[in-house]
Every structure is written in structure tokens, then in C-alpha cells.
């Protein structure tokens, strides 16, 4: 599903150049639930952004579902993002003047799905994250956990091949974090490929595989026994 070879990325910081990713090789199959771990500055978010086509690598190969991702125009990148990828951010990134339902329906709008179908689909995913009753509420009327669940519903609405989550529990307390992870596990159970960036050990152990990044290289890549989040959720 995802394949990257010798990926490099550096940022210009004034006159200095900061080498963030120093040759990443990585492969993820369909249906995997991968945690990308590392301390801050290790390059884990940069890696996720490149995988999500929000950012571009300097050198290296990236093949997503058999499609090489290289030198894309913004229009083409938008099409791929829309078709292949769903995003969940630490800060939720909901559009604050749109209701939960409208936020969830937005990727479908960019897929040119008709209005009726769009709303029905968005409602279906809101129901799946348990927020059907909150469909007409604005983001600032929702709790952090609810916001993240709306964001997950939004990411799922487009039925992407890969779900990318950048510190999805970073802004949440542990109880809410487990609720969100429970949801992510359920989505993974349905066969979706999910990559989660986190620096929390317990969150990482709720995935099926952990990749450790340090100073821009992968230092560890292991399959683990998944801890089910549902046992912590009442």
C-alpha cells in the first residue's frame, strides 16, 4: 500500500539547513495499523506530512497504492489527497463556522458527490463515531474528544485508502484518548490502513506495529501484540 525508499528531507533555517529525514525506507501493507514514534524533532511528523502529500520530499521514492508520487501539480496532489488519504490532526482542524455534519461532508463536496448523498453519507459516519445527535452543532460547542471524533468521521467520509493521524490524542486526556484509539482500532478492524504518529507509549501499543524514529532515521521497526483500547472505555 505504502512504499518509500531512501527518503530525504531538509529544511532551510536561515543560512543553515536542517536535515530532518536522512534516508527512510519503509513499507506498509493494506490493513496495517502502524505507530510512528520518536521524540520531538525526530522527524516523525515530517514523515507523515510527506506521506500525506502535505509536504514534499527532497529526494527518494514514494509509491502509494502503486502510484508513484513525484513532482505533482497542486491540482493533481489535491486529487490524490482526496482519493487516497484521510487526515486526523492533533488540533482537529475543523472549520469553525461549519456544523459537524458540514465538516464531515466537506471531502465529499470536493469529490463532487451530490448534496443529498453527501449529507446521508456524512450522517452515516457521524453515527459511526457516535455523534449523530451533534450533527448540527458547531465545533466550539463540542468537547475535545467529540471534535476529534468529528475529524475522524471527516477523514473516513472520503473512504480513503490510508488514514493518517498526527498525534490524534495529543490534545486529549487519557480517557478520551482511549475512546479515540478505540475508534481507530474499530476502523482498522474494517480493513483500513492507518498510520498514527504519537510519542505516547500506551497509544503506540494500541497499534499493531511500532516504528521508532531517531534523528531522521528508523532505529526500530517491530510488530507487537495489540492492546485493545475498548477495555479502558466504559
Amino acid at each position: 500500500m505504502i512504499e518509500i525508499k531512501d527518503l530525504h528531507k531538509s529544511y532551510k533555517m536561515g543560512s543553515n539547513s536542517l536535515h530532518v529525514l536522512k534516508g527512510i525506507n519503509f513499507k506498509a501493507e493494506e490493513g496495517e495499523l502502524v505507530a510512528i514514534m520518536g521524540s520531538s524533532g525526530s522527524g516523525k511528523s515530517t514523515l507523515l506530512n510527506i506521506l500525506g502529500m502535505l509536504d514534499e520530499a527532497d529526494t527518494g521514492e514514494y509509491i502509494l497504492d502503486g502510484v508513484p508520487i513525484k513532482n505533482l501539480s497542486e491540482t493533481k496532489a489535491a486529487k490524490y489527497r482526496n482519493k487516497f488519504l484521510g487526515f486526523v490532526f492533533q488540533s482537529f482542524n475543523l472549520i469553525n463556522y461549519k456544523s459537524a455534519l458540514e465538516n464531515v461532508a466537506l471531502p465529499l463536496y470536493y469529490q463532487k458527490v451530490g448534496r443529498k448523498e453527501r449529507e446521508a453519507k456524512a450522517m452515516k459516519y457521524l453515527e459511526q463515531v457516535g455523534l449523530k445527535e451533534w450533527a448540527d452543532h458547531l465545533p466550539n460547542e463540542l468537547s475535545g474528544g467529540q471534535k476529534q471524533r468529528v475529524a475522524i468521521a471527516r477523514a473516513m467520509a472520503a473512504e480513503p485508502k490510508v488514514l493518517l493521524a498526527d498525534e490524534p490524542t495529543g490534545a486529549l486526556d487519557s480517557t478520551t484518548s482511549y475512546e479515540v484509539m478505540d475508534l481507530i482500532q474499530q476502523i482498522n478492524d474494517l480493513g483500513n490502513t492507518i498510520l498514527v504518529v504519537t510519542h505516547e507509549e500506551d497509544i503506540a501499543h494500541m497499534c499493531k506495529r511500532i516504528i521508532h524514529l531517531r534523528d531522521g532515521v528508523i532505529v526500530e521497526d517491530k510488530k507487537i501484540e495489540q492492546v485493545r483500547a475498548s477495555q479502558y472505555v466504559q
Binding site: 506530512n49 500525506g52 502529500m53 502535505l54 509536504d55 514534499e56 497542486e74 491540482t75 489535491a78 486529487k79 489527497r81 482526496n82 482519493k83 487526515f87 490532526f89 482542524n93 475543523l94 472549520i95 463556522y97 461549519k98 466537506l106 471531502p107 463536496y109 470536493y110 469529490q111 448534496r115 471527516r154 472520503a158
Partner: protein, 409 residues
């Protein structure tokens, strides 16, 4: 392009960003408002100038006698010049092609009496042509005619003011008016658009006046209009030739500037026209500057809007919005706001002008008005150019890497 979703996006965005919407709308409406007021002011000033000349025909020439300032042909300096009927006939004969209307003026101040009312007025002896030169408007009855002139009829055409003061509510036509003990018959009442003082005058046939007041053939001054087909140069040439010929006839030094005066309206009118053209030029210049300021204002606000929405743009791009859809989102909203407020401002200011126009009627400022086509064109230009000004930043914003846009706060 304009489906229900687009409208909903625009409506959402407007509803949730009232200040931003207001600022954009206000700057557009304000620009149009100022522009309309400017155009109306210039128009009002021009109307005012032309109206000042409306008192008399714009091709008038007036000839006033005075006294010589130089000795000439055996006469001493300081000789008073007096025009006579012969001089009038001489001008008529010599310049048949060059004048349109001509009339002598023979003024006498009289005490006029009707029933119990009396008043002091000037009776001016004129010929029927005088009506056209002075632009007197007959309100009732009739003006003097050739027969009155020939028969030396004791008839009067009185100004509206005279009618008000002496006749009150009576219909003056056919009534007798006693002036300096002599009985005249009122045959008409006139008004004068440009000059209300003129309406306190009384006109009579000059032949009648000359007969009554001293049985003379003297006249006080000559009024005429030049051939309206003449342009400015020919009109001046005509009055210059007339001056030369009259000086020769009356034995005056050709260099003598004070023996009599010829006042040719062509001169002043040409100045006014130049000034009016200049005003139009200034109006266009300032108007263009206002338009530019408006465009810059709209562009500024759009840049601000785009900055404010950078994060939202990043989110939308992460969800798969193409750059063209981002540009559309921003521009559609601003087009809707600028169009509504632009035409709103236009209607508002034109309403104000339409309201004020009939009321304002000062000597130098009268009936300000605007050309609808000009205003509509200006509004459309402002809207289009404003949107163009927003196009560049919105295209740039739409092509920013999503990660950079998402990091913005």
C-alpha cells in the same frame, strides 16, 4: 458555477465574518458614493455657470455710450457720446448678415400708479426683438409687436414683480396704468429666468417713449445678438469691426477706449466653456484616482481575508480541494460582496443626488446631476478591478503547500 453549494459556502462565510464583510462592502460603497458626489458637484458647478448666462442670450452684444478720453477730429476730450436712431439704422444696414436680433434701449424712471398702489419703476423703450435678446418669457398677454412700434402705442409689458406690487390679485391685462400722469395700457406680463431684478422692469415701444419723453431720437444703449452660426472668432471679429465703423461714424479716435463700450458675451462665454472643460477634466482625473483608491482598498481587504483564512485553506486542501476551488471560494465571496455593496452605494448616492438636485439652486451651484451610464460603468470597473486585485493573492494562497497553510495562525 453558481450551484446551491457555492451559494451556501458564500452565505456561510459572510454570515460568520460580519466585520470583514462590512469592511469590504463599506469600502466599495464609499468609493462609489464619493465618486457620484464628485461627479454631481462638478455637474452642479457647470450648471451654475451656464445658468448665470441664462439671463440673456449667450450670443448677446451690448453697446453702452460713454465719453471720449482723447481729442479727435477737432473735438475736445471728454465729449459725451450719444447714440441716436440713425446709429441703430446704420448698424442694421451695415451688418445685415451678422446680427440676429437688435433693439435700442431708452430708459426712464417713472412713478407708476394703479388704483391705490404706486411705485417707482424703470420703463425701458425697446423694439420687439428685445424679447429674444433678454430672454423674457411671456406669462400672460403678449409682448410688443411691430405695429406698437409703428403706431407709437402707449402699451406696456410689465414684469411679474410689478404685477405683484401694483395689481395684487387683479388680472393686469387690458388695465390702465398711470405712469408720470400718462395713461398706458398693460398688454402683457413677463418673467425672466436668470434675473429677478429684471422682473421689476416695464417695457414699452421705444418710439412711444422717445415721443413722450422729450420728442427725441436719442437712445441709451443698443442690445443685439450676433448670428448664432458664428463661432467665437467670427463673433469677436464682428464686434471689433462694428467698433471701428462706429468710431469712424461718430468721429472718435480709433485708439479711444472709453468713448463707448462693446460687451460681447462671446468672450466671457468662451472663458466659461474653457473653465467648464477644465472642471470636467479635473473630475475625470480625481474620479480615476478615487477608483484606484477603491481598487487598492478592495485588494487590501482581500489580502487580509486570504491571510485570515490561510489555515482554513490548508484544511480544505488537505481534504482534497483543488487550487481553482480555493480561488473560486475567495473570489466568489468578494464578487458577491462588492457587487451588492457597489450597486447599493450607487443607488444610495444617486438617490441622494436625485433628492438634492431639485432643491439646490445657488448662483454658482445648481441642479447637480450625474450621468447614469458613467456611474454604472465606474461601478462595474471598480468591482472588476477590485476582484482582479484579489486574484493574484488568492492564486498564490491556493498554491501554497498545505503544510505551510496549516501551520499558519
Amino acid at each position: 458555477m453558481f450551484n446551491r453549494d457555492t451559494w451556501q459556502e458564500i452565505w456561510h462565510s459572510i454570515k460568520n465574518n460580519k466585520l470583514r464583510t462590512f469592511l469590504t462592502g463599506f469600502s466599495v460603497a464609499w468609493g462609489i458614493f464619493i465618486l457620484v458626489l464628485l461627479l454631481a458637484s462638478v455637474n452642479g458647478m457647470q450648471n451654475g455657470f451656464y445658468k448665470q448666462f441664462n439671463d440673456d442670450a449667450t450670443n448677446s452684444i451690448f453697446i453702452y455710450p460713454n465719453a471720449t478720453s482723447k481729442p479727435y477730429g477737432g473735438f475736445e476730450a471728454g465729449r459725451r457720446i450719444q447714440f441716436k436712431n440713425d446709429d441703430l439704422e446704420f448698424i442694421k444696414g451695415s451688418f445685415e448678415e451678422s446680427y440676429e436680433y437688435i433693439s435700442p434701449r431708452f430708459n426712464r424712471s417713472v412713478t407708476a400708479k394703479y388704483k391705490q398702489e404706486t411705485g417707482t419703476y424703470t420703463i425701458i423703450g425697446v423694439s420687439p426683438d428685445h424679447q429674444m435678446i433678454e430672454r423674457s418669457v411671456i406669462e400672460s398677454g403678449r409682448y410688443l409687436n411691430k405695429r406698437d412700434l409703428k403706431d407709437r402705442n402707449k402699451v406696456l409689458v410689465i414684469g411679474q414683480q410689478v404685477q405683484k406690487e401694483l395689481f395684487k390679485d387683479d388680472d393686469p391685462i387690458g388695465k390702465s396704468l398711470i405712469a408720470n400722469g400718462l395713461v398706458f395700457q398693460v398688454i402683457g406680463v413677463f418673467s425672466d429666468d436668470g434675473n429677478e431684478r429684471e422682473e421689476s422692469n416695464i417695457y414699452a415701444p421705444y418710439t412711444t417713449m422717445q415721443g413722450i419723453f422729450g420728442n427725441t431720437d436719442q437712445i441709451n444703449s443698443i442690445s443685439m445678438t450676433y448670428n448664432p452660426a458664428f463661432d467665437f472668432t467670427r463673433a469677436l471679429a464682428f464686434s471689433n469691426t462694428m467698433e471701428e465703423v462706429l468710431k469712424r461714424r461718430l468721429v472718435i479716435d480709433p485708439e479711444d477706449q472709453s468713448a463707448f463700450f462693446i460687451n460681447n458675451y462671446a468672450e466671457g462665454f468662451s472663458n466659461i466653456q474653457t473653465f467648464s472643460n477644465f472642471l470636467t477634466f479635473v473630475a475625470i482625473g480625481v474620479g480615476v484616482l478615487i477608483l484606484i483608491a477603491g481598487i487598492v482598498g478592495i485588494g487590501n481587504i482581500l489580502i487580509f481575508i486570504i491571510k485570515e483564512r490561510t489555515k482554513e485553506i490548508g484544511i480544505r486542501k488537505a481534504l482534497g480541494a483543488r487550487p481553482i476551488e480555493i480561488v473560486k471560494l475567495i473570489l466568489m465571496e468578494s464578487i458577491v460582496i462588492t457587487t451588492l455593496s457597489g450597486f447599493g452605494g450607487m443607488l444610495f448616492s444617486m438617490g441622494i443626488v436625485a433628492l438634492i438636485s431639485p432643491i439646490v439652486d445657488a448662483p454658482a451651484f445648481s441642479n447637480p446631476n450625474v450621468d447614469n451610464t458613467v456611474v454604472i460603468i465606474c461601478t462595474v470597473v471598480l468591482i472588476l478591478a477590485g476582484v482582479m486585485a484579489g486574484l493574484i493573492p488568492s492564486i498564490r494562497a491556493a498554491n501554497v503547500k498545505p503544510i505551510d497553510a496549516l501551520r499558519a495562525d
